[in-house]
Subunit: 534 residues, 2 copies
């Protein structure tokens, strides 16, 4: 597949603007060969308007056809073979094995949403049958289900060029719910994005869906992102990225004349609390687990453990020493793009210069790197230092973590109390620790979307019981998740039909339950048909 | 019960500020006897801080105890007897029969949420069991459920002094989910609010809940409302009221350093589309139904039909004539407070002066009223006039409606296309109409939270299949409802427990399912216990 570098507006390619940009190989700093055309605000508007025009026909597609579209995208991603992986590797320097795994995750997500659409119970149908005899007034027939919202704008993340980008979970869940999508490619992997967008376009062609159902725009300017969020026909937004960008777009969505649902997942510190019994029992093993989690994907995970808190002890010294040794022996690597590496190095330097903070690694991680190449780092501070400098409690994207040596269990609880909202909180504890630290656990539950016991925060299962979300600033709305089937709830709303004649009801709400979905009928969950009520 | 006129901060009464205000009898304009103390920003902060302090203990209360609290509030409302009804009548001039019905609705809501908490399945528990054999990495045990958010601020509405105020659905659903509540009384019925707040306080005392679980503040200043929304410990807001106030508070919630879930229900136009077959079949009966709905509660319903659209015909003339006659014969009545009556009369006058708009009533409704007393009105325009002047498509709170005489079915569809978000859309149609106007119906579904066939929009059932919500400006988030059990979802968020030892899991997620709730276990809904996994 020869890259054309254009924006993709439905079935058309478009390059109205003069500005172009290039992708880089982050390892060498070498500019890659295709020029990508920055979308203009006009192209952004056209993409949303095409989505809006396609919406009327897309939202009434039978679920089977929507499922086929999603399955077809999954097959297309597999069919793109090495080319997709090679381009993604070149643009991100994520290892090919990891990208192959990420593609499997992505196709898995697409097929999960296809299955969800096909099975159909996700619409959460609820039926309360009429009661003409009710006093003082007859009770009407009420039937409610979830329906689509309209055009959804999706912002691709830098760190998952497939699973959280053009063809990722936001796009899959929005499409599954019956919403057209306009995706904004992350400028660090425009070629990967183009390949993914063309695969989606081909799937749309093959399944004879309206072309406006999907568009993709390229660009680096915040104005482009803002134009997408502000367009009157945009009905919802899904975003994965930094707090700064996420908040700016959230603010724009909230300030619209008609505010829209906006979900941003913006990462977090993902603190790990190691309680005394667990620390004493196996410090070396913990160091091993944590080193793997901190350096996984060069620390470019929204669930990377950025803080480790434990009570000062010989075992903690051992853990720190081993963690430092293990992370230091992690091979140097190139981050996703040079800007992110610069921020990592600057952040590390800034933190390591805070009075009371030391770098535990034998090699100076702030120096042993250049360009996009960085090395892993373990910072250590005591609790008062941590409390004094708010920089230390901010996420540092990259392979670094901060160990906070606490003087007491009060320090641990104080850290917990001061935490901002988190995607995850991890607890290593024996049964006795859990009994002794019950109030700590109780404080932590208020802070996080996911509580992990004895494991590591990296590794987000795509499952019904997963919650990849959390209180702000982890996300902009703690009630939603961006991973797992519940991610579809971000992009759907209930509609109630009152006394609607049978033949005009959507299939999901008809008496005979032709979709054979699970429904709450007069308070009982069932797949059974309803007695004829008209 | 002697009214004290104070703010109620947990178990204490408080009157730190110098400013006071009085309630009025809207019928006579007479000032009522108690002086109410405007809460200061300090009192607002104290209320939220008490709620926050009580939260740690309230959120871990067994559901049975929370249910008892809600039941106790319901009994207390009944126990207050005539005194509550009399005061509410005096402050609102809503008929006593209506207020007795509203109280029954309110106690019904409280008991519904008590039953929901007691039964427990509302937490939407989902369990994916561990699979240690999964390749390439073992699958952890994941268990997710909904939990509370923290202190919720509730703004009482003027038009439902019980069902959507201090002791209404917002308070009931927030408490049921484990959140303390700080309620802001509507200044038009401060006495009713005080009685309700004291009943809640008494229920808290009787059930030995922490007193900070509920506070109520009085006041008329927007600064007070803003202080409640902006307080850092406030975690969510429920509001019922005007678009202007709702939007101002929404903006404040979104602009917080930590934005919070905010749900405002702000009413709507609730258009009624009468299609030709239905109009021809029974114009007089339709006029009767609609007159009842327009004037119900003196039009002070968020679901009052504010627009009636049909194709110009002899039958439509007949309907307009009859509707005008019926509404004109509605007795004059006092609106909730004089400000709302002034806005109604001004709005009516403004609309009736638009070129192309005529008042169909024999009596001039813009003149035949003073003080809070108003009369019902039917305005009539053609479609081009309606399209030209945007005032005509804005909600006019009170007993008025606008009939739009359309020249063609294209006009009807144009009206539908131009509609803003609505709580409801009503369609009167024969089977043949529905076939012929399928595309109109399809456009309407995108605009509303509830589609009513053959009925009237007033009358909002408190049922699982109800959706009292809709796209902006009907509400600030189309994904939530303020009526029915699903209203609790506004005030809860998921938490996932990963590999949590059995004894530390909440009861809802334990293997043996001690709460006997409905759970999604490995993709199947069941009340069965789970095989021991630890």
């Amino acid at each position: 597949m020869e890259l054309h570098g254009c924006n993709i507006l439905g079935a058309q390619v478009s390059k109205s603007g003069a500005a172009t940009f290039r992708a880089y190989d982050p390892a060498s700093g070498r500019e890659l060969d295709t020029s990508f055309h920055e979308a203009t605000e006009g192209e952004a508007a056209k993409a949303v308007e095409m989505a809006d025009a396609a919406y009327a026909s897309y939202r009434v597609q039978p679920p089977e056809r929507i499922a086929n579209l999603l399955d077809q995208i999954a097959s297309g991603l597999e069919g793109a073979g090495d080319e997709l992986i090679a381009r993604a590797h070149l643009e991100t320097r994520l290892p090919e094995a990891r990208l192959i795994y990420e593609r499997a995750r992505t196709t898995g997500q697409l097929r999960m949403f296809a299955a969800l659409a096909r099975e159909g119970s996700w619409v959460d149908a609820r039926i309360d049958l009429a009661d003409p005899a009710r006093m003082p007034i007859p009770q009407p027939d009420l039937r409610k289900m979830l329906v689509s919202l309209g055009p959804v704008v999706v912002f691709g993340a830098s760190n998952f060029p497939l699973a959280f980008s053009i063809c990722g979970g936001d796009t899959a869940s929005a499409l599954a719910a019956g919403n057209p999508v306009v995706a904004k490619a992350h400028p660090a992997h425009p070629g990967t994005s183009e390949i993914a967008a063309r695969i989606i376009g081909e799937a749309i062609r093959k399944t004879a869906m309206p072309p406006g159902v999907f568009s993709m725009v390229q660009g680096r300017r915040p104005e482009l992102s803002l134009a997408l969020v502000r367009h009157p026909a945009t009905r919802a937004v899904g975003f994965t990225g930094s707090l700064q960008a996420g908040r700016a777009l959230f603010d724009a969505a909230a300030a619209r004349p008609i505010p829209i649902p906006f979900f941003a997942e913006m990462g977090s510190l993902n603190p790990v609390f190691i309680l005394p019994g667990a620390l004493k029992a196996h410090p070396a093993e913990l160091a091993q687990k944590l080193a793997g989690s901190v350096t996984l994907g060069l620390g470019q995970m929204c669930t990377k453990p950025g803080q480790i808190a434990a009570i000062k002890s010989l075992e903690l010294d051992l853990l720190v020493e081993k963690l430092a040794a293990l992370t230091s022996s992690t091979p140097l690597g190139a981050m996703l793009y040079s800007g992110i590496a610069v921020r990592y190095r600057d952040g590390l330097l800034q933190r390591s210069r805070v009075a009371g903070v030391r770098l535990a690694n034998p090699v100076n991680a702030t120096e042993a790197s250049d360009g996009a190449t960085v090395s892993a780092a373990v910072l250590v501070s005591d609790a008062p230092t941590f409390f004094k400098d708010s920089t230390l409690s901010q996420e540092l994207f990259g392979p670094a973590t901060l160990v906070t040596e606490c003087g007491s269990s009060e320090h641990l609880e104080e850290i917990a109390r001061r935490l901002e909202g988190q995607l995850t909180v991890t607890i290593h504890a024996t049964e006795e620790d859990l009994r002794e630290y019950a109030s700590l656990i109780s404080v932590l539950r208020e802070k996080a979307g996911r509580m992990i016991f004895g494991g590591v925060p990296t590794g987000v299962e795509v499952k019904p019981a997963m919650h990849h979300g959390g209180p702000y600033p982890a996300t902009t709305d703690p009630r939603f998740t961006s991973v797992g089937p519940a991610a579809i709830l971000r992009f759907a709303r209930p509609v109630c039909y009152q006394d609607c004649p049978q033949q005009w009801l959507p299939p999901e709400l008809k008496d005979e339950n032709p979709r054979n979905i699970f429904r709450l009928v007069n308070g009982e969950w069932t797949r059974a048909a309803v007695r004829a009520s008209f």
